[in-house]
Amino acid sequence: MSGQERTLELYRGVAPAGTVDLLYRLADRLKGKSLLHVNSTRWGGGVAEMLHRLVPLFVSLGINTRWEVLEGTPLFYKVTKSFHNALQGDAQNITDEMYKEYVRVNKQNAQKLDLNADVAIIHDPQPAAFISQKPRNAKWLWRCHIDASRPQRKVWQFLSKYVEKYNGAIFSLPGFAQKLKAPQYLMYPSIDPLSDKNKDLGPEEVQAVLRRFEIPTDKPIILQVSRFDRFKDPIGVIKAYQMAKKYNDCYLVLAGGGAADDPEGAQVLQEVRDAAAKDKDMFILDLPADSNIEINALQRAAAVILQKSLKEGFGLTVSEAMWKGKPVIGGFVGGITAQIMYGATGYTVNSVEGCAYQIRYLLNNPDSANRMGAAAKEFTRRNFLITRHLVDYLSLMIANIGV
């Protein structure tokens, strides 16, 4: 067995039975075909992180796969940051000069990079205008990773001129679909069960992390992992914990990051610290971006995991928590509702009171909590692992090439 084949073989005992063989059979139909991914950065951000893990798996399936990265100017990245915000619904002021820079950088990169492949997946708005240089007979799909449920009209009008020319557009949730002539596909994001954030950890590794953060283990731990952001409702989490704690003694751990380079994040973190100041059973952890093992250990140590968001795209932290076999209480928003099946894999809630009640229920009914946690893990195994993501991409390739 070659090293490349081993890459996929590692998933055989983790993915649902038969999935790895299914992937080989799908890849057989794509023998001799090539795949190209294009995005705007090699390092940093969720898309690059995902491509670092997906591309070797495509290669291990025998598909000739390349990953090209666009190079922009400071103005270009300012424009695409504005596009990103505008697609998420924030009003942006984008000048004609900025639109021109977007088109110029796209044209220049598209001429410079090798875009020859049977199928190309173009990720997010940054390289969307590459479509003007699409080789004849190639099939191109635009993959939108952004919550585009309420895009600013002017920016979407500009981008949709390019998106319409693709063979299809891929969105992460049904609510992100747009009025387009091109077919629109649904593809949920995924987690990698073998990454540092999700791989199995022994009890000693978990305990070592708890000791490092000085979190005792004599009471159950309630955990929320998320950026210090108002949409993640950390203050609502503290209120729910305080309501539940009147009946069931427990610790609360709020672990996140993003405060260092985000002024609003720093302000939210300060508010959270102020709210937690008088309670020695609350632990507020401002973690560096690469704290994957730490987050993994905290999730494994927790009795109940929360993701009480008020607004959410997909919410990969929910899948990560479910993969650890934990029942999750999540806000009834965005992709969380696709991940949590009420009463079967956890609970979705609409209020602080609802969240507090479900914390109490799960702490007092450990058998139910364990049963839901086991169902949550199985649900994630079948629906939100990277192997399912690969199946989705291969099936779209097959459907578009017609093999």
Binding site: A17, G18, L26, P174, Y185, A375
Partner: protein
């Protein structure tokens, strides 16, 4: 005798860009969407939740019960299952009639306040051979134990509705090739919409065991 070739399937989910946020709009769009979309929403959870049974047996009933919080209509819609000799146009008409009657009875139009709209979708199925085949009832039962759940979906639901064979591939083969007529009839009588795919697998294996005298 022909062997039975187990064929799994994968589903490409396509978004139609149409959404309903109240029951009247739901009815209007049920009338207008392609019949493939009706099929998708009557069956989607089998492939996605292959081991969990949802409170109601299809997306329409689940949406009105959970997102609109109209359990009365959810219960009424749950009575519709695309089984026996119904075709998808019959199902579309039944859905419309029930919603229409419900809206006439209550004289208001329930809609989502806190929940999500109903997003209409359809799917395309790609068949993928599993490489597994059976040439006796014993082999058939043993493969049922290990074959991926999508093969059970493909041979039971896809065979009946999209390919319009009227009965499942399993029943055809057992009837025609194995001459296990009684078992074929029992398999065809299973109320498949009351099971998850894993539940259906267990039921099929149990019926095979009985036929084998085990």
């Amino acid at each position: 005798m022909k062997s039975f070739l187990f064929t799994g399937c994968i589903e490409i989910k396509e978004l139609l860009g149409k959404k309903a946020d109240n029951e009247a709009k739901l009815m209007e769009l049920i009338e207008e969407v392609p019949v493939d979309s009706i099929y998708y929403h009557m069956h989607s959870y089998f492939l996605h939740h292959s081991y969990i049974v949802e409170p109601f047996p299809h997306d329409f009933a689940n949406w009105v019960a959970i997102q609109v919080r109209d359990k009365v209509l959810g219960e009424k819609l749950s009575a519709i299952t695309p089984w026996r000799n119904k075709n998808l146009e019959d199902i579309r008409n039944e859905l419309i009639e029930i919603i229409d009657q419900h809206l006439s009875d209550i004289r208001i139009v329930p809609g989502v306040i806190y929940g999500h709209p109903f997003y209409f979708m359809k799917s395309r199925i790609i068949e993928v051979p599993t490489g597994l085949s059976a040439s006796s009832l014993g082999e058939f039962r043993d493969i049922l134990k290990v074959v991926e759940a999508s093969a059970i979906y493909n041979h039971i639901f896809e065979a009946r509705f999209r390919v319009k064979k009227g009965k499942s591939d399993f029943a055809f083969w057992l009837d025609d090739e194995i001459k296990a007529h009684d078992l074929a009839e029992k398999i065809d009588m299973i109320d498949a919409y009351m099971y998850s795919l894993e539940g259906l697998r267990a039921k099929l294996i149990s019926l095979c065991n009985k036929a084998l005298g085990e």
